[in-house]
């Protein structure tokens, strides 16, 4: 008898769990179903840094429209895969934060809807709107622009170096442990190395006239080989090393072990007690050193049942200087809205990054970029460490990427 009760209890628990699981999904289903005026709920996915700023903007929106905004906190790394997986099921959000280089994947899978910025488009930094544009359509509302630059410890080096060799010479003169810090690691770091590569005239993809990329590789050829040989040279001279990871580079710079570090605004927190200046990354190959620009923004789901509300929220409430400045204060990246960026530029560090960003190029958002990342860094690391022959390794990398892209 007791056993029978126990099993019944276990079964109760089983079914209760099953009920809970389907029960838990149910409200989500209702949420995105038939909106009813005042009761409309807009679901927004944000990461932790952006949460407070979006909630503030949402409060104003709720007041003005009577709609409800539900801000859902997610890990930034989870947003892309979850968005791709959940939008088709109808359980995804109406709006999500995201990076512009997801665009290719999101449109190929048909999970984002275009946003018509109208005349508001002119109020944004041109590079930020261009980054979210594909085939003439804008797919995201940009809010922040980020790029790397040369961060200089003014106590150790008083002047901005014009070329890479100047920077190394100044670094050696400073007598610090490292002449210049640039994160490399055994996997390579092509994102951080990109300005050096472009200074040899070897961008990753060919560009159309309007600045957008086409999936034709451009990193081979003479420029690419020259860059590869330069990497080997600098590796041998000890200026570049695969042992320097992000953590090691940041810690060394914070300790004053080098006058220069190539990096972005995300490092600044660790350098709080240093006197800094932001300079362009010095050119190594003679041509301008253009880093990648990453643009952060908001995407609207293609399956949103609240498309009207979502667009209204983004175009009329998130594209305001207040909202963009709130996001800037939360994330430290220069805002994408020009008016907000001007205000933020009162801080010389932000102004420095913004200035460097003005000459930068958007990171390609083509789906083919995944294949490039897979080979790019490892090849660079192999060349820097002296394990592989520079010209041969570079050519093999280009061939391998071409093979992967097809």
């Amino acid at each position: 008898m007791r056993r029978s009760i126990l099993t019944a209890a276990a079964l109760t628990a089983t079914l209760a769990l099953a009920a809970c699981s389907s029960g838990a999904e149910e409200p989500a289903g209702e949420e995105s179903a038939a909106p009813n005026g005042e009761g409309s709920t807009l679901t927004v996915w944000v990461d932790e840094t952006r949460q407070a700023a979006v909630e503030d903007a949402a409060a104003g929106f709720e007041e003005a429209t009577g709609a409800k905004v539900e801000v859902v906190l997610k890990n930034f790394e989870d947003i892309r895969p979850d968005f791709l997986a959940q939008v088709p099921t109808g359980k995804g959000p109406d709006i999500t934060v995201g990076a512009h280089d997801w665009l290719g994947e999101l449109t190929t899978n048909g999970v984002v809807a275009p946003i018509e910025l109208g005349d508001t488009a002119d109020a944004f930094e041109p590079v930020s709107v261009a980054a979210f544009t594909q085939d003439g359509q804008v797919y995201g509302l940009p809010y922040a622009v980020e790029n790397i630059a040369l961060i200089r410890n003014t106590e150790l080096a008083s002047e901005a170096p014009a070329t890479w060799d100047d920077a190394i010479a100044a670094g050696k003169e400073a007598g610090t442990k490292y002449p210049l810090l640039i994160q490399t690691s055994t996997e390579g770091d092509p994102y951080t190395f990109y300005p050096l590569q472009t200074s040899f005239g070897a961008p990753v993809f060919e560009q159309n006239e309007d600045g957008s990329y086409k999936p034709e590789l451009a990193l081979g050829g003479e420029g690419g080989t020259a860059f590869a040989e330069w990497l080997a040279e600098q590796g041998e001279a000890g200026n570049l090393s695969t042992d320097v990871t992000y953590d090691i580079a940041v810690a060394a710079f914070a300790k004053g072990e080098s006058p220069f570090i190539v990096g972005g605004p995300w490092m600044l927190e660790q350098f709080a007690d240093l006197d800094l200046a932001i300079d362009p990354v010095p050119s190594a190959g003679g041509e301008p050193a253009q880093p990648f620009v990453g643009v952060a923004g908001f995407y609207v789901s293609a399956q949103s049942e609240n498309a009207l509300l979502a667009n209204d929220f983004l175009v009329n409430y998130m594209a305001t200087p207040e909202a963009q400045l709130a996001l800037y204060e939360a994330g430290d990246r220069p805002p994408a809205l020009i008016e907000a960026a001007d205000t933020a530029s009162e801080d010389p560090i932000t102004a420095g990054f913004r200035e460097v960003g003005a000459d930068a190029v958007p990171m390609p958002s083509l789906p083919e970029m995944g294949a490039v990342w897979a080979y790019w860094g490892v090849t660079e690391a192999g060349i820097v460490s002296g394990k592989s022959d520079p010209a041969k390794a570079w050519d093999k990398m280009v061939a391998d990427i071409q093979g992967e892209i097809g």
Binding site: E26, E38, P88, E187, A302, L308, G370, G403
Partner: protein, 522 residues
Amino acid sequence: MSLPATRGSGRTGWSPGFLVKLVLIALVDALGVYAVLAAWGAGSWGILAAMVALLLVANWAYFSKRALPLKYILPGLAFLLVYQVYVVAYTGYVAFTNYGDGHNSTKEQAIEALLVQNERRVEGSPSSPLTVVADGDTLGFAIISPDGVVEAGTADQPLETVDGATVEAGRVTALPGYDVLEYAAVLERQQEVTELRVPVSSDPNEGSIRTQDARTGYVFTSTLEYDPASDTMTDTTTGVTYSPNDDGQFEAADGTTLPVGWRVLVGLDNFVTAFGDDRYAGPFGKILVWTFAFAVISVASTFLLGLFLAIAFNDTRLRGRRVYRTLVILPYAIPGFLAALLWSGLLNRSYGFVNEVLLGGAQIPWLTDPVLAKLAVLGVNLWLGFPYMFLICTGALQSLPTDVLEAAKIDGAGRWRTWRSITLPLLLVATAPLLISSFAFNFNNFTLIYMLTGGGPRFDDASVPLGHTDILISMVYSVSGLDGTAAKDYGLASALSIVIFVVVATISALAFRRTRSLEEIA
């Protein structure tokens, strides 16, 4: 025992036990019915069917006289179905589809996405302040054109000038012949509003007004049109017609396809791809051999070290055994992914603790040399795994029957002979199944590889992003693009997972059969 059988199962009479059962089943039924209704509401027919079936079986099992065994195993079976059988079956299903980048969703959604992606704002067209209006039940738009004229229209009625409109703050607030909709009313019908296209004129090529925020209207034209009758897409600028192909994409006569596709069944294609790509042929062989070597050596090394320590700490003459035992178990208390990450730092060539402190500044490339990286992986796995083996060996040693050992002693067997002929076989009876499960675990030990070396160092001679320490499961992760290095292909990933499942299942089944011969000794 002395109770009559009829009362024992508590199903006859109104005994307290029966009442409790009745209440519990009623609760289960209530929950079940709620779940069924919830599934109905959400349109999840699969869950609904499963819940109904489960409820019927549960009620039958607990009230029937003939279902005694089922009373015990039903809860377990239910969990097995949900967490094992369903997952495996779903993976199996995905393996036969092309689910992945470009084939992420259903055909309806793909069509929707293609249409919306190819609806463009007419270049240089003005942005007009817009008001949503209604003519009876029909929605329409009222806009103010750049020269200040108020125009209105509906889906069937192209824009025309309307006189006598009231304009306040640059927006139409009242319009003869139409009702102006409040924002709340607009929201109520927002789906209709975003789908509404008001033609600019009777010529469809001039485009139509649409709005995304119910405040501003733009002139849009579509470059792609879908014809539901013939199930084809037509590019209105070039006149090319695209029809659906077997791969779940719209394809034109010349073979060009539209970017967004949908999920379809592709039969054995994924399995063919898995073994058909010659770029993978070379690395696959190496990785297969290394996977087996890694799993076998890991099990053997951890078992031997664990066993040795267990025997040593089992000796009653050793002082402070408890302290040693606690210390030895410590690595087991650290989560595997964390430990692997920690070790990758400790083994860094220039800054790692191992090289810098223990080896006095030697620059040994622990993680970047093909051979050393393999040794490092095995070493770290030994460190991670031996406490587990130590625990089970200690347990097994302590439960050995002392009479058998004494008998051996009386028969004059030496210490070595006793160990080899009595202790080890008895120990293996207890631990062999655990060794097999340990093999299966290490065969798929993705965490360690991913966190410690990431599969690196890369093969120099291969044209795929795979490395010397990659095992099959980390290869699957990379090949199917889940790490972001290629277009994601869940179908291929599922197919490869099934292949690995078959390999592990076969080996385990064979090994379990072998262990039966051990049991005969016992």
